[in-house]
């Protein structure tokens, strides 16, 4: 057991956990004022439910010994984290529990990311059911494929990890996975009422900027923490994360300036997230300079991709597809092009004389996870829609989901009369004393 490694991974776990409240702010600011609470609650709901499922069986499905073919970990091996409490149970140089905690935050945010595709219109109960089923059938297995290496936690790990695909911190397992799921759910639930006709402007861009800032901050734990050690690999991942993200902000802003005439704050925040997504799988395989190249291209590609939904007619409300699926695919594929043996991953990509072998593997892994996630998510979403109903009534959607589903409003606009309401149980107003009411208390 190495105390330095343990300290860094526990700190990283906390950084990554903060990303989900950051995501809640990022998403919350992007929706209309009448939906802000529901948008944020979908992220907080994911934290609550997945935190429990991870302890019960999620970790075991992801990191338990493979039950066959590299597709699934044994759900009973570490059920309830049994056998992992002892200080002698190590994962590399870490106490197993530090690794359990670190990976839990990944499971949580993967689920929360999907919510951006279905803003304003999903029943909260249905979302929570979806979150649990999706984590069980999609995320935990895919995390096993990608993150479980032979002999690290268990003897036999997952198929993608064992195949020599490079996905340092979850471009496939988190971003392609959540992006494809977002697309499937957006199709199952259908468009928001008035999509493409009524303005659905972000109600609070400072919240979006704050959320993006917290995501960026937390992402250093996501990427540099994925070294699972306090070492040179972590440092390279940290610097590459900075380089790509900064470059992606520039890429997105320049694209906007050329296309729309304005560089916007929403574009800056979105560019940061696009860069973070793209560098996630690649941060151990690139140089800082090629990280800049990958980042700029991520900013440009994702800025162009967010327009797809209008052309193709699906309502991916907050661009989970345009940012996470496209950014995740680009980052995963970019490794096949730009990977260099000088970086910690020690593999050459196409442009460094490594041939097309790695590129082919990266494409297959990315597309494979995308197809699996899309199909299974579509089935889960459709079953929920047909049984308990996934979408709220049209009337409720117009009134605002916060009021209808949570019985709250995000903001008290501070009207003089406090909105004219009364606390339930307080005395009612005196009887109406107008002339028409027939009382004689008021003289004309």
């Amino acid at each position: 057991m190495d105390t330095g490694d343990t300290a860094w991974v526990l700190a990283s776990a906390s950084l990554v956990l903060l990303m989900t409240p950051g995501l809640a702010l990022f998403y919350g600011g992007m929706v209309r004022a009448k939906s802000v609470l529901n948008m944020m609650m979908m992220s907080f709901g994911a934290m609550a439910l997945i935190g429990v499922l991870w302890v019960l069986y999620g970790f075991s499905v992801a990191f338990g010994n493979d039950v066959g073919g590299g597709w699934l970990g044994d759900p009973f091996e570490y059920f309830g984290l049994k056998g992992l409490l002892g200080a002698d149970h190590l994962v590399g140089t870490l106490p197993a529990m530090a690794f359990v905690g670190f990976q839990s935050a990944f499971a949580i945010i993967a689920v929360a990311l999907i919510s951006g595709a279905i803003a304003d219109r999903a029943k909260f109960g249905a979302w929570m059911v979806f979150a649990g089923v999706w984590a069980t059938l999609v995320y935990f297995p895919v995390a096993h494929w990608v993150f479980s290496f032979d002999g690290v936690v268990s003897e036999v790990g997952g198929v993608i990890a064992g195949w020599g695909v490079i996905d340092f911190a979850g471009g496939t397992a988190i971003h392609i996975n959540a992006g494809a799921a977002g697309l499937a759910l957006a199709i199952v639930l259908g468009k928001r009422r008035g999509f493409g006709r009524e303005p659905m402007r972000p109600h609070n861009l400072p919240l979006v900027m704050l959320g993006a800032g917290i995501l960026w901050f937390g992402w250093f734990g996501f990427n540099a923490g994925s070294a699972t050690a306090a070492n040179g690999t972590a440092a390279v991942a940290w610097v590459n994360t900075l380089a790509a993200t900064s470059a992606a902000v520039l890429g997105w802003l320049v694209t906007e300036k050329v296309r729309d005439g304005h560089a916007t704050s929403l574009g800056g925040a979105s560019g940061a997230v696009a860069g973070l997504v793209a560098i996630t799988p690649a941060c151990s395989a690139l140089t800082p300079v090629t990280s800049i190249v990958v980042g700029i291209l991520a900013g440009v590609l994702c800025a162009l991709a967010v327009g797809l939904k209008y052309k193709l007619g699906y309502d991916d409300s907050l661009d989970v597809v345009g940012v996470h699926l496209v950014g995740g695919l680009w980052g995963t594929i970019s490794i096949g092009l730009f990977a260099t043996a000088d970086a910690p991953a020690a593999t050459d990509g196409l442009f460094y004389g490594g041939g097309a072998g790695l590129l082919g593997k990266q494409v297959v892994a990315g597309v494979g996870v995308m197809l699996f996630s899309f199909v299974v998510t579509w089935v889960i979403g459709t079953v929920i829609q047909k049984t308990m109903g996934f979408r709220i009534d049209e009337e409720d959607e117009v009134a605002g989901i916060d009021q209808v589903v949570h019985a709250e409003s995000g903001y008290d606009w501070g009207t003089l009369t406090g909105g004219g309401g009364r606390v339930a149980g307080s005395p009612a107003r005196p009887t109406d004393a107008r002339h028409t009411s027939g009382t004689s208390e008021v003289s004309a």
């Binding site: 303005p199 402007r201 296309r259 304005h262 929403l266 574009g267 967010v306 327009g307 345009g322």
Partner: protein, 112 residues
């Protein structure tokens, strides 16, 4: 008595208030409003999606005046609110039946 209502550009509010004070008007009511005339609105872009915001922020000024002062007050408002560019606003007048000062109960012109 008449009610003079003016819809003006927000940045002209100080000029209009000062001009009315200089003319001798004792009181007025200000409210934020929005709308459009021939000016229409402006365009905003969010992740490449263009939104036309067709309601323009304006300020509504309401002044109660005696009949003899109406033309002068309208003229004062128009002069002080004018920039000569599109979207300067409108001023209109309406007859008022009665006005009561709440503090004293005075009615009519005495209450102005």
């Amino acid at each position: 008595m008449k009610l003079v209502t003016a819809i003006i550009k927000p940045h002209k509010l100080d000029d209009v208030k000062s001009a009315l004070e200089a003319y001798g008007i004792q009181g007025l009511t200000i409210s934020e409003s929005s709308g459009y005339g021939r000016q229409r609105g402006h365009t905003e872009v969010y992740r490449g999606a263009e939104y036309t915001v067709d309601l323009v922020p304006k300020v509504r000024v309401e002044v109660l005046v005696d009949d003899v002062d109406v033309h002068d007050v309208v003229e004062v408002v128009v002069k002080s609110a004018q920039t000569g560019r599109i979207g300067d606003g409108k001023v209109w007048t309406q007859p008022v039946d009665d006005v009561v000062r709440v503090r004293t109960g005075e009615h009519g012109p005495d209450a102005l």
